[in-house]
C-alpha cells in the first residue's frame, strides 16, 4: 500500500488549506478565533459557535491509533490490488481524530494505542498544484 497511487481527493475552498498543507507535508487544523475550539474536518464555519473567523495552524503530525482494521476484501480499484491494508482512526496530539491508512508496518503488528506519525503520499496532478494524502506510520 505504501506505493499505492491514491485516488485524487475532492478539495474545495473550504478544505484547500488542509490539502495544501498535506502538499507541504503538514497536517493543518482549524481553530476558531472566537471560541478557540479546534475542529476537523475543515469547514468554513465554526461548528461550535458558528463564527466565520477560522484560523489554521500546523499540527505536530504525531498521533496514536484509536482503532483500526486490516481489510482483506475490497472489490474497488485501486484497493483491490493492495489487500490486505490497514485503515485506522488516529487521535492527533491536538485532539481531533482523523481517518487514515497505517503504512510502513506489517498489518499483523499494528495495535490500538500505537504511536504513529504522519507520512504523506503525493498525488499525481497535471496542473502544477501539489497535493498529498496523509497516512500514518509507526514512530
Amino acid at each position: 500500500m505504501s506505493d499505492m497511487e491514491y485516488p485524487l481527493v475532492y478539495a474545495s475552498w473550504e478544505t484547500r488549506a488542509y490539502w495544501e498543507g498535506c502538499g507541504r507535508g503538514e497536517i493543518v487544523l482549524q481553530r476558531c478565533r472566537s471560541c478557540q475550539t479546534v475542529q476537523h474536518k475543515p469547514r468554513a464555519i465554526c461548528a461550535t459557535c458558528l463564527s466565520s473567523e477560522i484560523d489554521h495552524f500546523v499540527a505536530s503530525g504525531r498521533a496514536t491509533i484509536y482503532t483500526f482494521t486490516v481489510t482483506h476484501q475490497n472489490q474497488a480499484l485501486p484497493f483491490r490490488d493492495h489487500c490486505p491494508y490497514v485503515m485506522a482512526y488516529v487521535t492527533l496530539e491536538e485532539g481531533p481524530r482523523l481517518f487514515t491508512n497505517i503504512v510502513g508496518a506489517e498489518p499483523s503488528t499494528v495495535r490500538i494505542g500505537m504511536a504513529v506519525v504522519a507520512d504523506f503520499a503525493p498525488q499525481v496532478r497535471t496542473d502544477g498544484e501539489v497535493f498529498a494524502v496523509p497516512r500514518f506510520r509507526p514512530e
Binding site: T69, T71, Y89, F99
Partner: protein, 387 residues
C-alpha cells in the same frame, strides 16, 4: 392527546422474493403494497400518505413512485437516512397522521441488490469519492464492513469482547432463519463455522456479515381509532425516536451509537422499561451491530454486550429474543433492511409467526441503523404493543 397509543400499524407485508432478476424496485414495492393493503383490509384508494426510500431513488424518486402507483397523496416523505429510513418513516407517518395531514400512510421499500450484483459491503469508495464528504474516507479504501470492523476491534480491545461472542449472534440468527420458510440461508451453522469463514475486515469474518438478497416490503400506518374498525388486531405505536451520530468536530466516540439517543426518547414516550420488552428487532448488518446496539438501547451496560448475547439470551426462548425472522444475517438483506424490522415486529405481536413465534409477545422494540457506525449513521427506534 399524544402520539403514544393513538397511532397503529394496520397492515404489513414482507415480499417473499430473495432473488428477483425479473422485477424492478417499483414492482417489488407495488406488489408489497398490494400485500400490506390486503392485510390491513384497505385498498390503494384509501392511501393518502406515501413514504418511501430505496438504494437508487433520487430526489424525484417518490414522485416517480407515486406515478407508478397512480397515487396523488396529500402527504409525501422520501427521507433517506439509510437502512433505518423505514423505522423513521413510521415515526414521521405517526406525526403526520396525528397532525391530521394524512390518514392512511403507505411505507414502501423494494430492492434488487442481489440480482444486480451490488457489492454493498466490500465494493465501496473505489476511485475516491468526488463529493466533499468522501474526501475523508475515499482515499483510504473505506468499505461498509471495514467501518463496522473498526468498532468491533475497539470493543475487543477495550472490553475483552471475544470473536466467539460475535459469532454467537450469527449462529443465533441462522437458527431463527431455519424456522422461517422464506429465509434465504436456513442451514444451521456453528461458532466454529463463523470463526473459520474467511476474514473480510479484521476482526469480522464472512459469516459476521449480513447476506445480500433482493426483496422489499410494505407497512400501512393509520390512527388507532381507524385501525380498530379494520379486520386485523391493531398494533399500537407506543414510543419512537430517531437520532444521528457522526464524526462531530473530529471527536467520534465509536461506542456511542444513535441508538442511545433515539431509544431514550422512545422508552420515555412509551413509559415502559427495558425489562418489559418481550423481543427486539435489531438491525444486524453485522454481528457487532447487534452487540453495540443492545448496549446503546440499554439492555446491558457498555462493554457487557459480549456476555449478554451468550448463553442463549437472544435466542427464541431466551430472555430477549432478537430477530426471530433470522435477520439480515440469514433471512434477507436487500440493502436497506429497516422495513423488515417493523414487519416482523407486527407479525410477532399478532401471533402470526408459526414455528418462530415468540411466546406471549405483547411488547416489541425495533431499532434500525442506517449508514455505517464507524463513519456516520442514523438510528430510529420504535416501541410497539398489541392491544
Amino acid at each position: 392527546m399524544t402520539i403514544s397509543g393513538n397511532i397503529a400499524i394496520a397492515g404489513v407485508f414482507e415480499h417473499p422474493t430473495r432473488w428477483a432478476p425479473d422485477k424492478t424496485e417499483f414492482q417489488i414495492m407495488a406488489e408489497s403494497a398490494r400485500g400490506a393493503l390486503a392485510d390491513a383490509g384497505l385498498t390503494i384508494k384509501d392511501v393518502d400518505g406515501l413514504f418511501a426510500a430505496s438504494m437508487t431513488m433520487g430526489a424525484m424518486g417518490t414522485v416517480e413512485l407515486a406515478e407508478y402507483l397512480n397515487l396523488k397523496p396529500n402527504y409525501v416523505d422520501g427521507t433517506n437516512i439509510g437502512g433505518s429510513s423505514f423505522v423513521a418513516h413510521v415515526n414521521h407517518a405517526a406525526a403526520a397522521i396525528h397532525a391530521g395531514l394524512c390518514e392512511v400512510a403507505l411505507i414502501l421499500y423494494g430492492s434488487t441488490s442481489a440480482s444486480t450484483a451490488t457489492a454493498i459491503g466490500t465494493g465501496g469508495y473505489g476511485g475516491g469519492g468526488r463529493n466533499p464528504s468522501e474526501a475523508w474516507t475515499g482515499p483510504y479504501g473505506m468499505t461498509t464492513v471495514g467501518s463496522y470492523a473498526l468498532v468491533a476491534q475497539l470493543h475487543m480491545n477495550k472490553y475483552g469482547t471475544k470473536p466467539e461472542q460475535l459469532a454467537e449472534i450469527a449462529v443465533t440468527m441462522r437458527a431463527h432463519a431455519a424456522l422461517n420458510p422464506n429465509a434465504k440461508m436456513r442451514q444451521l451453522i456453528t461458532v466454529d463455522d463463523v470463526m473459520e469463514s474467511r476474514v473480510i475486515s479484521e476482526p469480522l469474518h464472512l459469516l459476521d456479515c449480513c447476506i445480500i438478497s433482493d426483496g422489499g416490503g410494505a407497512v400501512v400506518v393509520t390512527s388507532a381509532a381507524r385501525a380498530r374498525d379494520l379486520p386485523k388486531k391493531p398494533v399500537l405505536l407506543l414510543g419512537c425516536g430517531e437520532a444521528l451520530a457522526h464524526q462531530e468536530i473530529g471527536s467520534p466516540d465509536l461506542f456511542t451509537l444513535a441508538a442511545k439517543q433515539s431509544s431514550t426518547r422512545a422508552f420515555s414516550m412509551a413509559g415502559v422499561s427495558r425489562d418489559d420488552i418481550d423481543f427486539a428487532m435489531i438491525y444486524d448488518s453485522f454481528t457487532i451491530t447487534v452487540l453495540a446496539t443492545l448496549e446503546n438501547l440499554g439492555f446491558c451496560a457498555l462493554g457487557e454486550g459480549g456476555a449478554f448475547v451468550s448463553d442463549g439470551r437472544i435466542r427464541l426462548g431466551g430472555a430477549l429474543p432478537v430477530n426471530p425472522d433470522g435477520g439480515g444475517l440469514s433471512n434477507n438483506h436487500p440493502g436497506m433492511r429497516g422495513i423488515f424490522l417493523v414487519i416482523e415486529a407486527v407479525k410477532q405481536l399478532r401471533g402470526e409467526c408459526g414455528d418462530r413465534q415468540v411466546t406471549g409477545a405483547k411488547l416489541a422494540l425495533a431499532h434500525g441503523t442506517g449508514g455505517t457506525i464507524g463513519v456516520a449513521h442514523s438510528g430510529a427506534t420504535i416501541i410497539l404493543g398489541s392491544e
